[in-house]
């Protein structure tokens, strides 16, 4: 299973990036082989549509799950379209979030968002 996380630096000691679309890097962590790989997020400099392009990168790198503090609507559409599951990170530390994901304590991101939808009827 390949776990993808937006990160601030290219190291396992890094923090999770607060933003998805414009994160500088992605960590791709292979759960079974315990191998890590860092890739540049070429979407980070986009003037618009950064979330979509970043999501495409996650898809192209064959992620199975995405751990992120938040994810915009368009990016979510891409990620879910590729049947990648999204979980909400809890703390800043990358390592902690991987452990929590492994023990099944991270919550799916959509559970947190629902309940806000429909507010302020357009």
């Amino acid at each position: 299973m390949r776990i993808v996380i937006p990160v601030e630096e290219k190291s396992m000691g890094s923090n999770v990036s607060e933003i998805f679309g414009r994160t500088p890097y992605f960590l791709i962590y292979d759960k079974e082989n315990k191998k890590e790989e860092f890739i540049e997020n070429t979407a980070s400099n986009s003037r618009g549509g950064a979330g979509i392009k970043a999501a495409q990168i996650v898809v192209d790198n064959k992620g199975d799950v995405l751990l992120t503090p938040q994810c915009g609507r368009n990016a979510t559409d891409v990620i879910k379209g590729a049947e990648i599951k999204i979980y909400k990170t809890e703390s800043r530390s990358v390592k902690e979030n991987i452990e929590k994901f492994n023990t099944g304590t991270l919550l799916p991101l959509d559970n947190i968002h629902s309940g806000f939808h429909g507010h302020g009827e357009k």
């Binding site: 414009r22 986009s46 618009g48 915009g72 947190i112 968002h113 806000f116 507010h119 302020g120």
Partner: protein, 286 residues
């Protein structure tokens, strides 16, 4: 770091006035002004030396190399933005060009390329407190990238700190989404008018998508009590935290115009803002 974002939808609701009061009241050391179409917060920031300035590149724009151009007209014919005109030569209208790249791709002799263009500047005031902002050049629209850069610049400069206060972009588009991205709480400043309420609803929609904490305060509430009540009812109905009413106060306007903040003087608006501030910070750090 807990980040508070202040938003308003339409302009003129007093968002910047409230942001500047918060800055005075707060012991926070990190601030950003993402309202880059019309950044104003620096006008009330005292004790700052000259900012560090760096260029910001917006959308690339088409450039035609006249030496290579064979005047076939394909670029003009295919430009959907009417950005290419013919006088003696084919020329690109800088303001109309949206950098889509169709002309570059379609040109049979490679005479056109997209070039990065400076769209504005990022400014960083780095003294005892950090203040990050930007200024766009005329005819350039705000973008999510620029807002992200302004916030990133603030974070890099301050490192770890307890609280950061960010003045958000107006409107509801990409810059607003970029403003909300990564913050812990959004305070919406609403004006009691039909259009003010309209805008408030649109922001709640956008912020709701991010699962961010939301609170509402009404500015100049006494200019239309019925509309203010309507806002409070709306907040209650949708279980959004209503955090307070701030009265209109002519003394406050006078204070700002003489270069002071509302909290520098004794007036009724001051008490209300202090109360809103306390409640906001409590909600932010909880």
């Amino acid at each position: 770091m807990k980040q508070l974002l202040i938003l308003s939808g339409k302009g003129g609701t007093g968002k910047t006035t409230i942001a500047s009061s918060f800055i005075k009241l707060s012991s926070a050391k990190a601030f950003a002004d993402c309202d880059v179409d019309a950044p104003n917060l620096h006008l009330v920031m005292e004790d700052f030396s000259t900012p560090k300035i760096s260029d910001y590149y917006g959308l690339d724009k088409a450039y035609i190399n006249q030496d290579k151009c064979v005047k076939c007209g394909l670029c003009m014919e295919n430009c959907r933005f009417d950005a290419i005109g013919l006088r003696d030569n084919y020329e690109v209208d800088y303001f109309e060009c949206e950098g889509c790249g169709v002309c570059e791709e379609i040109c049979p002799v490679d005479a056109i390329e997209l070039r990065p263009v400076i769209a504005g500047e990022l400014k960083l005031y780095d003294d005892k407190k950090i203040f990050s902002t930007a200024q766009l050049k005329m005819g350039n629209g705000n973008s999510g990238l620029l807002v992200t850069e302004v916030k990133k610049q603030m974070k890099t400069a301050i490192g770890e700190t307890e609280i950061a206060i960010i003045d958000g972009s107006p409107g509801i588009g990409c810059p607003v989404i970029a403003s909300i991205s990564g913050v812990d709480m959004v305070l919406i400043v609403v004006e009691p008018s039909i259009s003010g309420i309209n805008d408030m609803k649109r922001i709640i929609n956008t912020a709701g998508n991010f699962g961010t904490k939301i609170a509402i305060c009404v500015n100049k509430y006494d200019t239309n009590i019925e509309k203010s009540n309507e806002i409070k009812d709306f907040a209650d109905k949708y279980d959004i935290k209503f955090i307070g009413n701030i009265p209109f106060d002519i003394e406050a306007v006078k204070a700002i115009n003489s270069g002071k903040s509302i909290v520098d003087i004794d007036c009724k608006a001051r008490e209300a803002i202090e109360d809103v501030y306390k409640k906001t910070i409590n909600m932010l750090i909880k």
